[in-house]
């Protein structure tokens, strides 16, 4: 347990470094020295940095949001894609009024929206995110999954309605689900999100880890975050796991 916990903690720190590197616009390798910092401290630091950057130009952003009210949605969408780019759109999404934000988002390509999503602070645009039409969310999720951007997918899970999350999960393969669960922003939601999967899927997701050693730690971490009741239902399936993973999985669900 202690060893698993240490590995899991280390992985969480790695995920935090990737998220922080994205916020700062630097290569993750530059921040390697942060690997020895506690994941909770890294998360608190990342949120502080995010707030600082979002607040740094708040007056200009608010004026832009005000000006956006004067323009038709189609013009705004064109300016967003051709001039602003993903980073500025992500910043403005935090201050623009919800109806306007949703109207523009619906007109943007899923590819562009997926790039905005990567730069967005979901805490600030939660009201917009939760009102984006299902088809658009599914298309953006497919883009992000295609790019293997599990971090961004994981950041949005807590801001989408359950039925939308359920549909997105249907579109993501089993290894992808393991990776998303591992970098989920709020690990306390893991069991709730797993509860949105059809009954047969969880066993399949766990056994998928048997095919790729890189997925062992994410699978064990997932088991660690499940309720005792849900873990119990998995016991009969663990026999199919390869040696090495099987013993650790069985020890985890005890």
């Amino acid at each position: 347990m202690t060893e698993n916990y240490a590995v899991s903690q280390n992985y969480e720190a790695e995920a935090e470094i990737l998220k922080l590197a994205r916020v700062l616009g630097v290569e993750p390798e530059r921040l390697e020295y942060l690997a020895r910092v506690d994941a909770d401290d890294l998360r608190a630091f990342r949120e502080r940095v995010t707030d600082t950057l979002f607040d740094a130009n708040i007056a200009v952003l608010q004026r832009m949001a005000l000006a956006a009210r004067l323009l038709p949605g189609a013009v705004l969408a064109k300016i967003a894609e051709k001039v602003f780019g993903p980073l500025l759109c992500a910043r403005i999404a935090g201050v623009v009024d919800v109806a306007r934000g949703v109207d523009v988002a619906k007109r943007l390509s899923p590819r562009f929206l997926s790039e905005v999503a990567a730069d967005l602070d979901p805490r600030r645009a939660s009201a917009i995110i939760s009102r984006i039409p299902l088809d658009t969310v599914l298309a953006v999720a497919a883009e992000l999954a295609g790019r293997e951007d599990w971090i961004t997918l994981g950041r949005f899970v807590g801001h989408l309605p359950d039925p939308t999350v359920r549909r997105c999960l249907e579109e993501i393969d089993d290894p992808g689900l393991l990776r998303i669960a591992f970098v989920l922003d709020d690990k306390n939601r893991v069991d709730h999100v797993v509860g949105l999967l059809p009954a047969h899927r969880l066993g399949r997701v766990i056994t998928a880890a048997g095919a790729d050693e890189d997925l062992w730690v994410p699978a064990l971490d997932l088991l660690n975050h499940l309720s005792a009741e849900r873990r119990g239902t998995l016991a009969p399936m663990l026999g199919a796991l390869p040696e090495g993973l099987r013993e650790r999985a069985q020890a985890t669900i005890k």
């Binding site: 700062l24 616009g25 600082t52 950057l53 001039v83």
Partner: protein, 69 residues
Amino acid sequence: MAERTLADQLGGYLPEGIEALEEHERQDLADALRDARRRQAKALAEAGEEGLRYVPALLRGAVRKAVGL
């Protein structure tokens, strides 16, 4: 003028694990944050001007005024 430290840029607060880093590592984070702020401010200034080219001529004056350009 001296560059602002990491703690200064973040309003005085640093989580324990960040506070415990070597000074040159905290400095690296301070540099990265300062650069990110400068890039963002530059991108915003450029986008304001460039975006006006796509605004219908009739609305350009009102938009310019709202943005403060």
